[in-house]
């Protein structure tokens, strides 16, 4: 055999696959480039078709309004469902929803709602007052596991029914007088009651649909799945792909369907804010759920109009465990509160427009501006600490700050650690725990000082101040003051005028700040990126979006922002 001829054959054999391989590589590259470069972005496509692409934070836990808790669920549910009243998207004042009007009795306890005759469920069924009676009965079944049952407690006998002290639902203050008239009787006049009606926990559900997939109080049936769910809001559920997207489309039976500006909304579970921001920049999203903290100064500096930062009805504070011996003295607690330079924290650490605060309730909550005698005053703090028996911090036990694992909580804790060390000469240790472990430690009272926050459920000082009631499940500080409880539970609800009521809240808050079982630090801001094609989106204190008002304008689709 001739080796030469053989190797000659081999060399052709070798070069052939090699050439094919190169050609394949080139083809693949071309495919990549051609297939993707020319594609239209979600945003510009969405602007033409009226489809809003919405970064929604996480996969919704449930779309059942009597089970869900959480903001991502809130967005989807409020697009699908509607309560008796809505809130004005700027002022948050109650405006007609399913109820076109309502009367309030002179004593402020009886509300009579007149429902729209043209209100329909998304399957065309008439939407009547009895739907509310049934839905609210369902929401108050303990087996359902409704964490927002307390939103009903202003209704007469609702709490008693929920806790089982009365068993006859007819005694609860909700009655359908006829198909289109609903009467609600309250325990006390509750000025924020109308606001509660816009919270999803008080939304109606479609009885026939719920019962088709299980019993009324059965948790987690399939009635909320695509193809099953029937709702009464501006949109209806079209598609729910787990961990991928929730798509809602215009509901033709909605009473105000002609004024709904969008055809579709696609909600994406975007739990990673950094990825979300990249999606926004590449035109995949109209609106983001969040903005990464370190991106805010970048957007700020370039004056990018996409960045939307607004005050938010949330308070960031430290709980103090008043059962810990050296923190039982309120002078010590006040000294700690006075030795925090809050401006330093908001200006240089957080940098997202947060507002330093010296009280619990965010200012401007229903016209309430809490007065506080708390200031940043290291000298006075040192003095107080000395009076409490720790001159120049001597003998003060090493104290631990507990926070849940999170970069910005860590930064704040480190800053406060240094301030207390510098101004009070005391030693502070930091302890971070994973979220659920932290929750357990805090509610079991196994902490010394703990990071905390509270977001208002409704715009009223009550939503914050009832946190520190003696038996409040969210108190967790061991602090208890009978006078404080009396003011919040007995005095404030009976006040005739708004001003008098606010004065009572001020009195209570003064008590709280004097005893200082919690150290107020700052007021939250909401942070989003929004494409300029989104119109009629009004920021508000609750960071709520009225989806039916939104519209998309296609000519400004490319202004997502520059590169950074």
């Amino acid at each position: 055999m001739d080796y030469h001829s053989m190797s000659g054959q081999q060399s052709t054999a070798k070069s052939l696959p090699a050439r094919t391989f190169h050609a394949l590589c080139l083809a693949a590259l071309l495919l990549v480039v051609s297939g993707c470069g020319g594609g239209e972005s979600n945003v510009s496509l969405g602007n033409r078709t009226g489809t809003l692409h919405w970064g929604n934070g996480t996969e919704p836990q449930s779309l059942d309004p009597h089970i869900a808790t959480g903001v991502p669920e809130h967005h989807i549910i409020t697009s699908l469902m509607e309560g008796l009243v809505l809130k004005d998207s700027t002022t948050l004042a109650p405006i007609p929803g399913v109820a076109e009007s309502w009367d309030v009795s002179d004593d402020g306890r009886v509300y009579t709602f007149h429902l729209r005759q043209n209100a329909r469920w998304s399957n065309g069924d008439p939407h009547i007052a009895q739907d509310y009676v049934w839905s609210w009965w369902r929401a108050l079944q303990p087996a359902l596991g409704n964490l927002y049952a307390y939103m009903y407690y202003s209704i007469n006998n609702a709490q008693e029914y929920y806790e089982g002290t009365i068993t006859d639902f007819d005694q609860v203050g909700v009655k359908a007088l006829d198909d289109y008239t609903l009467q609600v009787t309250l325990e006390n006049p509750t000025p924020y009651f109308l606001q509660l009606l816009d919270h999803y926990s008080l939304f109606p559900v479609h009885q026939a649909t719920v019962e088709k997939f299980g019993t009324a109080d059965e948790r987690g049936t399939r009635w909320t799945y695509e193809g099953n769910i029937v709702t009464n809001g501006p949109f209806q559920l079209l598609e729910w792909q787990i961990n991928s997207r929730v798509v809602v489309e215009r509901n033709p039976f909605y009473w105000d369907a002609e004024n709904v500006g969008l055809n579709k909304i696609i909600f994406y579970p975007t739990e990673n804010a950094v990825s979300e921001e990249r999606m926004f920049r590449s035109g995949q999203l109209h609106y983001t759920n969040d903005v990464p903290t370190d991106k805010i100064p970048v957007y700020r500096n370039e004056g990018n109009p996409s960045l939307r930062v607004a005050p938010y009805l949330g308070s960031y504070f430290y709980r103090i465990n008043t059962n810990v011996p050296h923190l039982q003295d309120k002078r010590v607690r006040r000294a700690l509160a006075m030795a925090i330079d809050r401006e330093q924290i908001t200006e240089h650490i957080l940098q997202a427009g947060q507002m330093p605060t010296y009280a619990l309730t965010p200012p401007g909550t229903m016209g309430y501006y809490p007065k506080s005698d708390l200031t940043f005053d290291p000298e006075a703090a040192k003095q107080l600490l000395a009076e409490a028996g720790y001159p120049n911090g001597e003998g003060f036990p090493v104290t631990e700050i507990l926070y849940n694992t999170n970069e910005s909580h860590r930064k704040v804790a480190v800053a406060i650690q240094q301030m207390w060390n510098k101004y009070l000469n005391i030693e502070i240790k930091l302890l971070n725990q994973e979220w659920k472990v932290y929750l357990d430690s805090e509610s079991a009272g196994q902490y010394t000082i703990s990071r905390a926050s509270w977001i208002g459920d409704y715009v009223d000082p009550n939503s914050f101040l009832d946190l520190f009631l003696c038996n409040g499940g969210n108190n967790r500080t061991g602090w208890c003051n009978a006078e404080y409880d009396r003011l919040i539970l007995d005095v404030a609800p009976k006040m005739k005028s708004h001003e008098e009521r606010l004065a009572v809240f001020q009195e209570a808050e003064t008590l709280l700040l004097d005893a200082m079982p919690m150290i107020p630090i700052y007021i939250y801001t909401s942070k989003h990126l929004m494409n300029s094609s989104v119109k009629n989106h009004n920021g508000n204190l609750l960071d709520q979006t009225t989806f039916k008002e939104l519209t998309l304008e296609s000519d400004s689709s490319d202004s997502t922002g520059g590169n950074h």
Partner: protein
Amino acid sequence: MFRFAINRLLQAIPVLLVVISITFLLVHSAPGGPFSADKAVPPEVLKALEAQYKLDQPLWQQYVGYLNDVLHGDFGPSFKYPGRTVNELIASGLPATAELAFYAMLVALFIGASAGVVAATRPNTLQDYLPMSAAMLGICMPSFLLGPLLVLVFGIHLEWVPVSGWGDSAGDKILPAITLGTGYAAYIARLSRGGMLEVLSQDYIRTARAKGLPESLIIAKHALRGGLIPVIAFIGPAFAGLLGGSFVVETIFQIPGLGRFYVQAAFNRDYTMILGTTIFFATLIIVFNLLSDMLAIWLNPKLRQEARGDH
């Protein structure tokens, strides 16, 4: 071969039982419960919830009940997502994760094997050092760094590929596959280099060379089969690793896969979901190890004989 497989599968049963038991104990002893939340949960609600998910029963009873359910192929309801079963959640996440793992494996094999073979043909020259240093870099470069880098360059600056999504727009699977595959490509490069070097020093290769065969034929026809055996042995566990380890890439690219559920389940203390996914991944690892062992036996005559000689 058949008896070998059956034998191995029987051995897997106690392994799975141990996995289930340990995970069950760990999950139930972890601090923080599935229903602890920012807002205090009223006691009556907590009672109702615990009763519904049988958490009010003694632990051994829960364990026995759970084993029984698993035997019937039922991983139970998810605690976090009322109305969803764990089976349903796994089924919803698996296709994306499996597809991602498959593409990543292709990327890894293609880049890794070619780099390894190229390096092995000229050991200790630039042709060796260059791909091997690149491989070292690939091993060291974590996906949470590589992913965003690729996105910045190819997604945002060049606008060639979408920055996230899965099957939403053309080309959105390219970056995730490369990000996930690169680390494995690096391992495969090193493994195939080692395997090739060993084979290339064998007598039969010397014979082939002595016969005057061109180097490319020697490599393609004679050396590759033996040289890639370490890679084959690696593929099985690596594929299982790709399936279970795609969490980071799934998060970066917003892919609706199983990895995201797996990690979130742990944060949520979604007991049934943690257990279900753990059992599922354990089974996958066992199956893929078995498959790659079988492949290695089939490829290697020596092992083939051993497997036969066993029984």
